[in-house]
Subunit: 347 residues, 2 copies
C-alpha cells in the first residue's frame, strides 16, 4: 500500500474536518484506494504544534482540541515547531496549507507553499489567497520541481468543481463560467427572499457560522472575486488578477428589490462570471436577476453552483455544498487521491 | 506525441459526431493533450466498411456519408470488413463500439467488446446494451487483459457523469443516485407542462429526432432502467440487473395530472433512482412529483441531470446535455483522454 505523509499548517475547521474523515473513514479509504493518508505534523499559530514521523492519531488530535482548545497537552516527539520549521524538518511528502486567507498579500501561505515545493513536497490547499494571487508562479514552480498542486477546496469547498473542469471538461473548451460561489451571500439572499431584512439575515448567518464577525469579504464580493480569478486562471488559461474583476456586493439590495423581482418571477443572486470574448477575458461579481427557471435560481442557502459553458457540450452545471467542515475536509481527500492517480506506479 | 488508433464499429450519429470533433478540433486537442486520435477503421452494417492502417480522414468519412449516405465510394486499402474482421485485422489499439443498442441480449456489442479486450484493445462505448447487461463480466475481463473500458457516453451523453462519480466522488461514498436520465421523456413532459397533449408532444419529439418511430424504449422507461443499472453497478458497486428495477413509464400521465401538480407548485419528472439501504440496493424508474424548488424540477427539455447523495458531501448535482450528436461524440474524447491519463508513460 502506498503511504502519503501529510503536514497540516493550520488546524481550524478544515483541518479538523479532514482529521474527522481520517478518524472515521481512514481505514476504509486506504483499503478502497490502496493508499494510506497519515498526518505526521500539525502546526497551528494559536493551537500549538506537534510532529511525529510515525504518524499522529487523528482521534487524539481532535480530542485534544475538543478538550483543551489546543494541541499543547498532546504528547509527541517534536513540539512547538512553527510552520517554516515543520515544512523544513518534518518527514512529510505533502504539505496541506490551511493557514488563514489573506487576499492582499497571500502570506504567509505563499511562502509556505514555495518552501514546500522547493523541498519536493506535493501541495494541497483550500486557501484562496495564494491561489487567487500567485497560481501561475506556483504552478510553474511545481512543474519545475516535479510535484503536484491540489486546490479543489478553494472553490465550492469539496464539491469537485476544479477537477471536473480540469480533468473532465478541458477538452470541451470552456468559454464561460458563471456561478454562485459564495455561500454566505447566497444564504442572506435566500433569507431576504423569505422576508428577512438584510441586517437580520446577516445576523442569522453570523449565528450559524456562515458569516464572519466582519462580513465585508463576503458581502462586498471579495471572496467571490478571488474565486472567479481562480476559475479563470486554472480552467480558462487566463492570467487575470483581483483588480481585473468588476466587483459589486449585495449590500445595496433592498427588500423592495427582492420583492419586485419575485413578483416578476425572478430572483436576485450574487453571480460570479468570467467569459472569453474576441477582446479578452472579462470577469465580474455582481447581483443579478435570474428567471426562476434558470438552473442557478433554485440554488439556495449555503449551496453553491457553477455553470460551465463549453464549445462541445453546451452548458454543464455542478451544484453542491459551498462550505462546511467535513465538505471542505473532503477537498483534501479528493486532491490527495488525484495526486495519487498521477504519481502512483503503473500496473 | 502519443497516438491512439481507433476502430469505430458503427457510424451513425455518435460516430459522425466524434468524426466532426476530430475534423474540427483534432489538431488542437492533439496539441493540448499531447495525444493524437486517429481513426484507422470504420465498419458499419449498412454504410459499409473502410480500413487504412495509416489513418482515415474524418472529413472524407463525413463527406462520403453526407454525399452518398454510405462509405462505399471511399477509397481505402481495405474495404468491406465486417465488425469481427475489423477487430481482428485492423491495427487499432482502441475499439469504439457504437453498434445498435439491444437491452435484451446486448449483442452484437458484447461479442465485439469481448473480442477486442481479448486482443488487448482498450474499449470505448456509448452503447448501453453491453454495459447494462454485462459490465461486471466485461470489466473483470478488461482487468485480466490489462486494458481500460470507457463508458462515459452510456449515461447523459458526453456530460461526464460516470467519471465524476468514479474519479471525483468515489471517496465521498455514494449512497443514493437519482436523476433525469432520459431526454425524450423529459422533453415530452416539458411540452405537456406547456399545454401539449401526450400524443402531440410525442409527435413533436419524433419530428425533432428526440424520439424514435417506436418510442416504447423511452416512454416505458426501459432506457432509463438500463441507465440506472449502469449507475448502480459502476458507481455503487452493486450487481443488479434490469429485472431488479421497478419500472413505470410516462404513458399513464394525463394533462390533468400535469395541471394538478402545477397548481400545487409541483412538476412531474421521470425519476430514475437507486439507493443502498440495510437490506440491499433498491432501484426504480417512475414518474415522480417534485416541488418546483427541487434541483431536478427545473431540468427541462432534453437536458439530463443526476444527483449523487454522498456520505461526506451531501448532495452533488450534475446537469448537462442528455443527447446530441456532438455531445455524445465528446464522450468518446473524454474517455480516450481518461484512458490516456491512466496508461501514458510518467514524466
Amino acid at each position: 500500500m502506498r503511504t502519503y505523509r501529510l503536514a497540516l499548517i493550520g488546524f481550524g475547521n478544515v483541518g479538523q474536518g479532514f482529521a474527522q474523515i481520517l478518524r472515521d473513514q481512514g481505514d476504509a479509504l486506504a483499503q478502497q484506494f490502496d493508499a494510506q493518508m497519515t498526518i505526521v505534523a500539525v502546526s497551528d499559530l494559536l493551537k500549538g504544534s506537534v510532529c511525529d514521523p510515525d504518524g499522529l492519531s487523528p482521534a487524539a488530535l481532535l480530542d485534544a482540541v475538543q478538550t483543551s482548545g489546543d494541541l499543547k497537552g498532546l504528547s509527541a516527539p517534536y513540539q512547538g515547531w512553527d510552520a517554516v520549521r515543520t515544512i523544513a524538518e518534518s518527514n512529510a511528502d505533502v504539505l496541506v496549507e490551511l493557514s488563514y486567507t489573506d487576499l492582499e498579500s497571500g502570506e504567509p501561505a505563499v511562502s509556505h507553499v514555495r518552501q514546500a515545493i522547493e523541498k519536493g513536497q506535493h501541495i494541497i490547499t483550500t486557501n484562496k489567497g495564494p491561489i487567487a494571487l500567485r497560481y501561475p508562479m506556483l504552478s510553474a514552480l511545481a512543474r519545475q520541481h516535479g510535484v503536484e498542486i491540489g486546490i479543489e477546496g478553494t472553490v465550492m469547498s469539496g464539491t469537485p468543481t476544479l477537477r471536473l473542469g480540469q480533468e473532465l471538461l478541458a477538452a470541451a473548451a470552456i468559454d464561460r463560467i458563471q456561478g454562485i460561489v459564495n455561500g454566505t451571500t447566497n444564504y442572506i439572499l435566500s433569507q431576504m427572499e423569505s422576508g428577512a431584512t438584510y441586517a437580520d439575515a446577516l445576523a442569522e448567518a453570523q449565528v450559524k457560522g456562515y458569516a464572519e464577525a466582519d462580513p465585508t469579504g463576503d458581502v462586498e464580493g471579495f471572496d467571490a472575486a478571488g474565486k472567479v480569478v481562480i476559475l479563470a486562471n486554472v480552467l480558462m488559461g487566463a492570467s487575470i488578477t483581483l483588480g481585473d474583476v468588476a466587483r459589486q456586493g449585495i449590500t445595496g439590495l433592498t427588500p423592495q428589490d427582492i420583492a419586485t423581482a419575485r413578483n416578476e418571477g425572478q430572483r436576485w443572486k450574487l453571480i460570479a462570471s468570467v467569459g472569453k470574448t474576441a477582446d479578452g477575458v472579462h470577469a465580474s461579481v455582481r447581483p443579478t436577476r435570474l428567471p426562476i427557471e434558470h438552473p442557478l435560481a433554485s440554488v439556495s442557502g449555503p449551496t453553491n453552483a457553477v455553470t460551465f459553458t463549453t464549445n462541445l457540450l453546451g452548458d454543464v452545471t455542478l451544484i453542491g455544498p459551498g462550505a462546511g467542515r467535513q465538505a471542505t475536509g473532503y477537498a483534501i481527500v479528493c486532491d490527495l487521491l488525484g495526486i495519487d492517480r498521477k504519481v502512483k506506479p503503473r500496473g
